[in-house]
Symmetry: C2
């Protein structure tokens, strides 16, 4: 919406300072010659990107930027998987193992039940940067296709391609120090700091289907984001 961008630029220019009130929606209607609905949707757009607050019955106020509403996305993480020219996925293991205690807990199965264990390393220009370890519920009707275990299926974890049985997933991210196995797979030193991105995906019966961890070398990853007034709130001109 054009009006949303106009308002964004006014805020960005300091025309409306943090804490101050924007003109009321009805005034904006008259000033810009648009209907109430259009004004409201414009302001909703500013609300969504977090540059204003609205208080019913009172007004719309410019927010001061703070750490509160900040979010980090995994775009940089994802972009790595798209860059197929420099990225190679090595499948280290694709075997059937019996679930240990932790795995049984995460996948809501019994200790000793069979699971499919996958170990993959993501290599960029000969440099191993991500170690992925995943355990899947063993399903005898779904044979393991080695070919499917390479870039495509890791890429699928991101874009959600093909798999229609998944309903939702839980993610956690931690700062860890690499253990011996991880350091070895990532060709670096013991205790190297790293991100651990853990994921569990559930089917439509809320049963866990997979549990895994991305171990990412801390010296290769940095997540960036920003707060406050963006250049533009919507893609149009």
């Amino acid at each position: 919406m054009q009006l949303a961008n106009i308002l964004t630029e006014l805020v960005s220019a300091g025309e409306y300072l943090p804490g101050s009130r924007l003109p009321s929606e009805s005034k904006l209607c008259k000033r810009y010659g648009v209907s109430p609905m259009t004004v409201h949707r414009s302001i909703k757009a500013l609300l969504d990107v977090g540059i204003v607050n609205t208080i019913k019955g009172s007004g719309t106020y410019v927010k001061a930027p703070g750490l509160k509403g900040v979010t980090f996305d995994l775009e940089e993480f994802h972009s790595i998987f798209r860059d197929k020219k420099h990225i190679k996925v090595n499948v280290l293991d694709a075997i059937i193992v019996k679930a240990d205690k932790t795995t049984a807990n995460r996948l809501a199965i019994n200790e000793g039940d069979r699971t499919v264990l996958l170990k993959r390393v993501l290599v960029r220009d000969g440099d191993p940067i991500i170690y992925h370890k995943e355990k899947l519920i063993y399903d005898p009707y779904l044979p393991i296709m080695e070919a499917e275990l390479e870039v495509t299926s890791l890429h699928g974890l991101f874009v959600g391609g093909g798999e229609t049985r998944l309903k939702r997933g839980d993610l956690t991210i931690e700062a860890i120090a690499l253990n011996e196995e991880e350091a070895n797979k990532l060709n670096t030193v013991l205790h190297q700091p790293a991100f651990c991105l853990e994921h569990i995906f559930y089917d439509f019966d809320d049963r866990p289907l997979s549990w895994g961890r991305f171990i990412c070398r801390g010296d290769r990853f940095k997540f960036k984001t920003s707060v406050g007034v963006p250049a533009r709130v919507s893609p149009s001109a």
Copy 2:
């Protein structure tokens, strides 16, 4: 919006599987007896939370959950600052220092220019969990108020309270290993894994005003999030 929640529940129940198309907006109008605008806004809500895709001229499709659109917020981080019962802020330093090379670079000033250095430790129940180090552009007209340096001002960094000169900020998050000073301040061991949340805030002339780092013990922090169909898309019943 009620319709948005109805549709969310239908998707959640597996009525519309990932990849499949939702009924067209005009059909939803008839089926639920609401106007086109209302239907469109409902679907916009699903779009915003990332459970559907819309393709102009084609239809609205249910997304499979993937890591792509995942975002982590700092809510858990923020909640710590609100919990004033168990949280104490110790100001270790509040002095004027000359900028070193890195500081000069980040704050876009000259090496040797004066800056205000703040060092604070956030203690929860006697347990130091966050070490905050910040450098501010020195402004002789803004005297340092010791009282302001405690919880309130750290809290202000989050909610953006009071400060009306700030327009935007850049944030990065890294996995690091504590150096000697940090380990000492956080009462833990050298090389302990940790999150480093770095922030730079800019004024309306795009000049940096402050640069700082939150060092958070990795064994005290875990960021969580989820993807896929949420319980409810809007707060109403």
